[in-house]
């Protein structure tokens, strides 16, 4: 009889074990305070590593997408003139230093904030880019898939950076909410070449900015390990 009861209780326990796990793991636990923490959250280092991996992947895929787009849609003479079509990069106005020496002089906080700014400013244009990509004739599925993937990864990168900021700087930040009104409006029906050049510029700028994000994050990581060896 006791055995039966024990078995029954055990059954319930077995069935409900996911709930046990959930109740015991608060989602945003603080491991800074108090001795032993029950919270198995990710460490800052690991988080930073993952964020860097994200940034690397995003950069690689965006580079592939850009070169693919360039091959397919950009006539050869225009390939060399990257930013001369009159569409400057949207992040031009962002105060991001452009030399190594300058970058090394900015603080961690500014590094993180710069990264966040970059990420957040690119989320909407990438979503827009997804829709415009379908407009082209004979656009390969691979290109569409890559663009879509990048867009999704960027959103997760943003979340990661937000968490990182919270961890490192103890600041709460808001993640962007996707709204329909983007920076880009579909104004009329300009020439196909205009479309192409605009999208091409968009891709190129994003590629560059993805690289920026990667570099900034790597610098940050170096600083975390040993500030003096980061020349």
């Amino acid at each position: 009889m006791h055995l039966m009861r024990a078995i029954k209780q055990g059954q319930w326990a077995v069935l409900l074990w996911p709930y046990l796990l959930i109740t015991s793991i608060p989602l945003d636990c603080r491991d800074e305070q108090g001795g032993l923490s029950r919270c198995p959250s990710i460490s800052q280092e690991k988080l930073l590593d993952r964020v860097i991996q994200h940034a690397e992947l995003i950069y690689r895929v965006s580079e592939e997408s850009c070169s693919l787009f360039e091959e397919m849609f950009i006539p050869f003479p225009l390939q060399l003139q990257r930013n001369q079509a009159g569409y400057p990069c949207i992040t031009k106005a962002l105060p991001i230093p452009s030399s190594k020496s300058e970058i090394q002089q900015i603080s961690d906080k500014w590094l993180l904030h710069s990264v966040l700014m970059l990420v957040q400013s690119w989320i909407e244009p990438l979503v827009y880019l997804q829709t415009t990509m379908n407009r082209y004739d004979g656009v390969p599925d691979m290109l569409l898939n890559k663009t879509k993937w990048v867009s999704e990864k960027l959103m997760s990168l943003e979340q990661g950076v937000v968490v990182l900021i919270k961890k490192m700087l103890d600041e709460g930040m808001m993640t962007t909410t996707y709204n329909e009104q983007g920076l880009f409006q579909d104004d009329g029906q300009p020439e196909m070449l205009e479309y192409v050049m605009r999208d091409y510029t968009l891709l190129s700028c994003f590629k560059k900015d993805a690289h920026k994000m990667e570099i900034l994050l790597k610098l940050l990581k170096c600083r975390q390990n040993d500030i003096h060896s980061c020349a």
Partner: protein
């Protein structure tokens, strides 16, 4: 004075230029060949000067950054060498487009090159890796090469400013093909599968995640020590093992050579004849050989020869007795047998069976006797030859030696054999014809001896030899008789099929399986027939003849030399026919119930029975 001197100089210059024939021109268009950055912190641009137009030409490089509108000139023309411009750290901005132009200037003018846009991030070509170290190490007795290196000292990989990927290539000293390995971001690599005693060359290069491959590092040499003895011992083991297996296989083959020979080259099967001795044949005494084949009790040479003779011969071959009759013939017996043999068991009975063939007995006793003689004498000869003896009939060769043919019941009711010799002859002929018609078909596929129509029925079950077409065509000559018959074949077959009886004969209401007994042979050599009473159309397939049915018991002999016979009472079925004999005498016949007077010879049987088949007078009722 000075002015004069200057003018004179100018004039001299002009004269010189005119005298030499050279023309000065503005400089040709220079071109920027490449811009490279080794570590993403500085970069250098090189250009190719055009023609200088005969005059000393100076080159200047101007650049404009993307974000500003100011045009700057190259800060350093020297560091990087001739026709180059070096941008140091302070002047280098990454992620920023540079618009660079080179201008060539000489006394006569200036020429602008085509502008080039570059972004430092995308023109990185690092220096080759440094401190490449190659060592030979051992892994459980097998050597391998470990290559390690350092990134170029200028590239800042530690802070993550540049991420480099490496590549190694190896080759043997005396060969030309390199073996390339991608090493990723690690700074160490192992190479296995080395040739013992060989000398290897190793080179390393690197590339940033976006940019150009560096040059290959200088070759590092490494010599692999000999480990030949290890390989050798393995080979020795393998060789010994193989030799051992080979020996075993050879021994097995030798032991089983005979059976193997039989398996590969099966011997040709020899003839197997019962009683046939190959040795005797080899010895060359054919008489002995053939004598072994001869069955001693055939032909029957007993005093009972007369017993064997019957005045009417009804020959059929039930399956068991077939061999007895034709033991010497090489026949395709299967073709000849009929599955639904309608032959009865009454061999030697005094009846002309309508469905068992062979008219001859009805024809005449003499044919039967002839046939018996033939059978006795020439049981080994070809059927064909025997058939030719039957000249009185258009004999189809299958009429020989009592080969029994049972006419198929399709032809039933077959005509009753009358005492009319002509009629029966005709009947016989017709039967012959039908038989011959069928036979060739059988022979065509079966290659039987002509003359073995045997028990042929029309049904498909009978033609085991695969009679595909039923058109009578004679495939091989079987004698002139055949050919004669051939012409009549179609008609005859149809006639036979349609008419149950030949034209000349009135058809009695006979059933096909009715027996007719010969009562006697009268003065005109006519056979008086009487249906067998009690049989009434039943066919009994007994191989053995029940003696009691054909014989009557002699009750006594009365004064007129008449045998008083007492017929055995037999069960008579209700449907006992009262057929009328087709005889010239037109005498009605009935079932015999009582004794009959006997005329003439009476052959007494052994146990008081008289063979009613021989001489009897018809009862005059």
């Amino acid at each position: 004075m000075r002015k004069v001197l200057e003018v004179i100089l100018l004039l001299l210059l002009l004269v010189f230029t005119h005298a030499k024939g050279t023309r000065y021109s503005p400089p040709g268009k220079p071109a920027l060949t490449r811009c490279r950055s080794p570590e993403k912190e500085t970069f250098t641009c090189w250009w190719e000067p055009g023609s200088d137009g005969g005059l000393p030409t100076t080159y200047a490089l101007y650049y404009r950054k993307e974000s500003s509108d100011t045009v700057n000139e190259c800060p350093d023309y020297r560091t990087a060498g001739e026709n180059s411009c070096f941008f140091n750290k302070n002047d280098t901005s990454i992620w920023v487009n540079y618009n660079i132009t080179v201008v060539a200037t000489n006394a006569l003018g200036r020429t602008f090159s085509d502008p080039v846009d570059i972004d430092v991030v995308y023109i990185v070509k690092p220096n080759p890796p440094e401190q490449v170290a190659v060592t030979v190490m051992e892994d459980k007795g097998w050597p391998f090469i470990r290559v390690s290196w350092e990134p170029p000292h200028k590239a800042d990989t530690r802070s993550g400013w540049i991420t480099l990927m490496y590549e190694i290539r190896v080759k043997l000293e005396e060969e030309n093909d390199w073996e390339t390995h991608l090493a990723g971001q690690q700074k160490m690599f192992n190479i296995f599968s080395l040739r013992s005693g060989g000398t290897y060359l190793v080179q390393v290069r690197c590339k940033p995640d976006h940019g150009f491959w560096s040059e290959w590092s200088s070759s590092s040499y490494v010599k692999v020590p000999d480990y030949f003895h290890r390989e050798k011992s393995v080979w020795i083991l393998i060789t010994v093992f193989c030799a051992f297996i080979f020996l075993i296989v050879t021994w097995l083959l030798h032991m089983n050579s005979r059976s193997l020979k039989h398996f590969i080259l099966p011997p040709v099967p020899g003839p197997k004849i019962k009683g046939f001795d190959k040795q005797l044949l080899k010895n060359g005494k054919s008489e002995e050989v053939f004598s072994a084949l001869v069955v001693s009790d055939f032909p029957p040479k007993s005093s009972n020869y007369e017993d064997l003779l019957v005045e009417y011969l009804e020959v059929y071959i039930p399956e068991e007795q077939e061999l007895m009759l034709e033991k010497s013939m090489d026949l395709d017996v299967s073709c000849l047998k009929s599955e639904g043999s309608t032959s009865d068991s009454d061999s030697g009975r005094g009846s002309c069976d309508s469905h068992t063939l062979l008219m001859h007995k009805c024809d005449g006793v003499k044919e039967g006797r002839e046939r018996q003689a033939e059978e006795a004498r020439r049981h080994q000869k070809d059927w064909k030859e025997e058939a030719s003896t039957y000249s009185n009939v258009d004999s189809s060769p299958d009429m020989s030696s009592g080969r029994v043919k049972t006419w198929p019941s399709v032809f039933s009711p077959l005509p009753r054999y009358s005492s009319n010799q002509q009629g029966s002859l005709e009947t016989a002929k017709q039967h012959y014809l039908s038989d011959s018609l069928f036979r060739p078909s059988s022979t065509s596929s079966c290659h039987t001896q002509p003359g073995h129509g045997a028990t042929e029925a029309l049904g498909p079950s009978y033609w085991e030899c695969g009679l595909s077409n039923k058109q009578p065509h004679l495939l091989h000559p079987q004698g002139q008789a055949q050919r004669q018959l051939q012409a009549h074949s179609d008609d005859n077959i149809s006639s036979i099929g349609r008419k149950p009886t030949p034209a000349g004969l009135p058809s009695p209401a006979l059933r096909s399986t009715e027996y007719v007994e010969v009562q006697r042979v009268n003065e005109e050599d006519m056979v008086l027939l009487q249906p067998v009473s009690g049989r009434c159309g039943d066919v009994e397939g007994y191989p053995q003849v029940p003696h009691g049915e054909d014989y009557s018991k002699v009750k006594g002999v009365d004064g007129d030399n008449m045998l008083l016979l007492q017929r055995e009472v037999r069960e008579e079925t209700g449907n006992c026919d009262t057929p009328s004999t087709v005889a010239t005498t037109q005498k009605p016949t009935t079932c015999i119930h009582s004794a009959m007077p006997v005329q003439g010879e009476a052959v007494l049987g052994v146990n008081g029975y008289v063979d009613t088949a021989t001489v009897f007078t018809l009862p005059t009722y």
